[in-house]
């Protein structure tokens, strides 16, 4: 057994290749527009059928049928282990205070962690479902946490906000909810 059976020549270029990939990635990253709209394929489509068990004891779980009917609402995809989710908590609280109904889906989370998260950052949610395998998250076209959807009274997805809700986004979301009333 030798130290290394004569390393192939191309393998020596591998580190440089990986590094080049890194450089390309961050150049694209540095030049991206700071804020942009993401067109989601799910906008304008009804929510898929789903039924999630409650993530915490004090709130009911969530299903498609429970979301349709009534008035437009927000659906917030979050997780207790996600730092941007903690950052957007004050904005969600503000929205809830202004009378917006918010439902939540906790992604790959544990009950006690969600409870701790809500206790620490406030609980603006009317219902919270637990999505342990990201199945509902995938089905509604969300690929990360946090994301927030505007769902109209008929259960149709009207808008998808990717990333944390910053203070400057609150008014925009309220406007989207108003639009969804029509």
């Amino acid at each position: 057994m030798s130290e290394a059976p004569k390393t192939a020549k191309w393998a020596l270029w591998l580190p440089l290749g990986i590094f080049a990939g890194f450089v390309v990635l961050v150049i694209l990253g540095l030049n991206r527009p700071a804020d942009r709209e993401v067109a989601s394929a799910m906008i304008g489509k009804p929510l898929p059928a789903f039924d999630l068990r409650p993530a915490v004891a004090e709130r009911p779980g969530i299903s498609r049928d429970s979301m349709a009917g009534g008035k437009p609402r927000l659906l917030n995809i979050f997780a207790s282990w996600c730092i941007p989710c903690a950052v957007e908590a004050p904005q969600l609280a503000k929205l809830a205070e202004s009378g917006v109904e918010i439902d939540g889906i906790a992604i790959r989370d544990r009950r006690e962690d969600v409870e701790a998260f809500l206790a620490r950052h406030g609980n603006p949610f009317a219902r919270i479902g637990a999505d342990d395998v990201s199945s509902v998250q995938m089905a509604i076209g969300s690929s990360g946490v946090p994301e927030t959807f505007v769902i109209d009274a008929k259960g149709v997805i009207r808008y998808q906000h990717i990333g944390e809700i910053r203070p400057e986004h609150v008014a925009m979301l309220q406007a989207k909810l108003k639009e969804a009333e029509q």
Binding site: M1, T7, P15, F22, I83, A116, G144, I162
Partner: protein, 648 residues
């Protein structure tokens, strides 16, 4: 005047670095060898000038000279002295000046003391060092001048991020920087070795103390940073897999691998190309880390000093330095002759396995850190958290720790497991016993279960190499290895215990009410306002007692800083030998209640004690290596002296 003096020193140092690169490179040719004699003195002078420049900036911060823009932006006359001093490196320009100063000082020390390497390799190394430095000098002087003056000095400074007004800041960044930049010396050694094709035990022995030193500082920096985040951020967690934490972890992983492979190269003349590559990778990871932190390209809770404009500049530096080094590696590595052979079951075999595992973890951390960026390219914003990092890194960390237990018991070159079967059986027995115990007390979670099962056996295995040795005669580096491996076991136990047995409680108490968390009784006596030098706070007086024992008082605070306006929570920690009580005072709730977050974290402190043990092990090894080097130099000088006398 003094600011201009600092700037002048910085320009001069940069000019000297340029000369160092020029003279060092030229003297590699045969005809211009005399030029090489100037390189060492120039490197020393460059280090001195750059240090002077940094000291000048410290003086400006201590005096709160508000005519200097950087001071006006980041300091305040009401700030306590120690934080004024620490403010020197608590901002972008100052921290970059610290970086360059440490790098120049390392070059100076190298020029003063390193005598083992062939002169050509030494010159190439110093030229490499100057090349890397020059980029950072340019960065400082053209885009981040720390000495810039304001035309109209303001009446008062703008303060400093309150989260950074903590004793942790005084030591955390400089320690990490000493580590990051110490690796630059290893990087320059690798470049020098590639250029001159001098890869062998002499190169490894020359490089080893630098790797050890940098690694010690990195270890301490990470331990301190972890503890700082633990008590200052008030979240009760000790590691968040935050991009900035990962930025310090990645060079540490590479440096740990390098530390082990450089030992193989020094002792056995094997793993030549691999060691050189790790030398390049370790410092590359430091630079990539700095880039990720400074450019603000990744969202991070730690990003205190970010600026996307400057990111481009650092990226250009990265591309030149790392790209250049890796190209050189790809061109030259094939010509590095193969090292000594060894069998799979041998000390070398175990070290190679350890290296592969460390590299795999490095890859996982790098990928996880960059993944949000990749996802963003595809139009999604994601946050990668513990659900990815914990299991993925454990997959490689667990086998690595198993081999860490066995490797030091093996002989170099060729061994067989039957020779050490007694020890192996003992260790397996302990693992089985621990696993049964852990099963009986029903530990939640797979990772804590594995951790608690392994920790005891790892601790014993780490001291087994001392068996049958005369302890006082055992070389210091062996003691160092034992301590460092023991530290890994201790830290592992702390991590597993913290995640398995922590008790968390959220309550709203009135004054006078009592609650229990774990074995603690906690009473909220009263909440009252207090004032500090540049903050006011609500402070809770609390009586706590462990299992009904003597009551102690503790004072968590919710602080409000007024310059700039920000709220922070000063958690209160009560440390016992078997764990910590962690108390955070929250908001005022309805009807005179106060929100309190309480944690009882059994053996959590072992996480950091283990880390300190690891660093201490490194320190012993470094001390042993340097001492024996010095002895060798003295002995050689004596022989030379005798020869000279006999010659007469």
């Amino acid at each position: 005047m003094i600011a201009e003096f600092g700037l002048a020193a910085l320009w001069l140092a940069a000019a000297l670095a340029a000369f160092q690169l020029f003279a060092g490179t030229l003297s590699l040719g045969k005809k211009t060898a005399e030029l090489g004699q100037a390189v060492r003195p120039v490197a020393i002078l460059q280090g001195v000038l750059c240090l002077i420049s940094f000291i000048v900036l410290m003086v400006l911060f201590c005096e709160t000279d508000l005519s200097v823009k950087l001071v006006a932006m980041n300091s305040h006359s009401a700030k306590p002295f120690i934080y004024k001093l620490a403010g020197t490196w608590g901002n972008h320009e100052g921290s970059m000046l610290l970086w360059v100063a440490v790098m120049a000082a390392s070059g100076a020390v190298l020029a003063l003391f390193e005598r083992r390497l062939p002169e050509r390799a030494m010159l190439a190394t110093l030229a490499g060092q100057a090349f890397v430095s020059l980029g950072f000098y340019a960065f400082l002087l053209f885009s981040s001048n720390p000495f810039e003056r304001l035309a109209e000095p303001p009446a008062e400074g703008q303060g400093l991020n309150p989260l950074l007004q903590d004793i942790g800041l005084a030591f955390h960044p400089p320690t990490l920087y000493l580590g990051y930049v110490g690796l630059s010396v290893a990087f320059s050694f690798a470049i020098g070795a590639l250029i001159t094709r001098e890869v062998g035990p002499a190169f490894a022995r020359a490089m080893r103390p630098w790797v050890l030193g940098a690694w010690i500082f990195l270890t301490l920096g990470i331990v301190a940073g972890s503890y700082w985040a633990y008590y200052e951020l008030g979240w009760g967690g000790w590691w968040f897999w935050d991009p900035v934490e990962n930025a310090s972890l990645m060079p540490w992983l590479a440096a740990t691998a390098l530390l082990h492979s450089v030992s193989v190269l020094a002792a056995r003349n094997a793993l030549r190309a691999w060691t050189v590559m790790l030398g390049v990778v370790a410092f590359s990871m430091s630079m990539v880390g700095t880039f990720l932190v400074r450019s603000g390209i990744l969202t991070s809770v730690h990003a205190f000093a970010v600026d996307p404009e400057r990111g481009t500049f650092i990226l250009a530096l990265l591309a030149i330095n790392i790209g250049g080094a890796l190209t050189l590696f790809a061109l030259r590595a094939a010509t590095v002759t193969e090292g000594e052979r060894f069998s799979v079951t041998s000390r070398e075999g175990a070290l190679v396995f350890n290296n592969v595992m460390l590299s795999a973890i490095l890859g996982i951390v790098l990928f996880g850190t960059l993944y949000p960026l990749i996802a963003e390219m595809m139009g999604a914003r994601v946050s990668v958290g513990p659900p990815y990092f914990n299991p993925m890194s454990a997959v490689f960390a667990v086998p690595m720790m198993l081999i860490m237990a066995v490797g030091p018991l093996l002989r170099w070159r060729r061994d067989n497991l039957t020779r050490i079967r007694g020890s192996l059986l003992l260790l397996v027995g302990i693992v089985v016993l621990s696993a049964i115990t852990v099963t009986l007390i029903a530990v939640p979670g797979v990772l804590p279960y594995i951790g608690l099962s392994l920790a005891g056996a790892l601790a014993l295995a780490s001291v087994l190499p001392l068996r049958g040795r005369k302890l006082l005669r055992t070389p210091l580096p062996t003691w160092g290895m034992v301590l460092a491996h023991l530290g890994v076991a201790v830290s592992l136990f702390g991590m597993a215990s913290e995640s398995a047995f922590s008790v968390e409680k959220l309550v709203a108490l009135r004054e006078g009410e009592t609650t229990a968390v774990g074995p603690w009784q906690v009473t909220l006596s009263r909440v009252s306002p207090v004032a500090g030098p540049n903050w006011t706070a609500l402070q809770a007086d609390m009586q706590v007692s462990y299992q009904g024992g003597k009551a102690q008082t503790t004072h968590p605070q919710a602080r409000s800083f007024w310059q700039p306006v920000q709220q922070t929570s000063e958690s209160a920690l009560l440390t016992r030998w078997n764990g910590q009580l962690y108390v955070v005072l929250g908001e005022e709730a309805a009807d005179d209640r106060w929100q309190l977050r309480l944690w009882w974290k059994p053996f959590v402190t072992l996480i950091w004690y283990g880390g300190v043990l690891i660093a201490l092990g490194g320190l012993l090894a470094l001390f042993g290596r340097v001492a024996s080097d010095l002895r060798r130099i003295v002995a050689r000088d004596k022989i030379a002296y005798r020869r000279e006398r006999q010659g007469r």
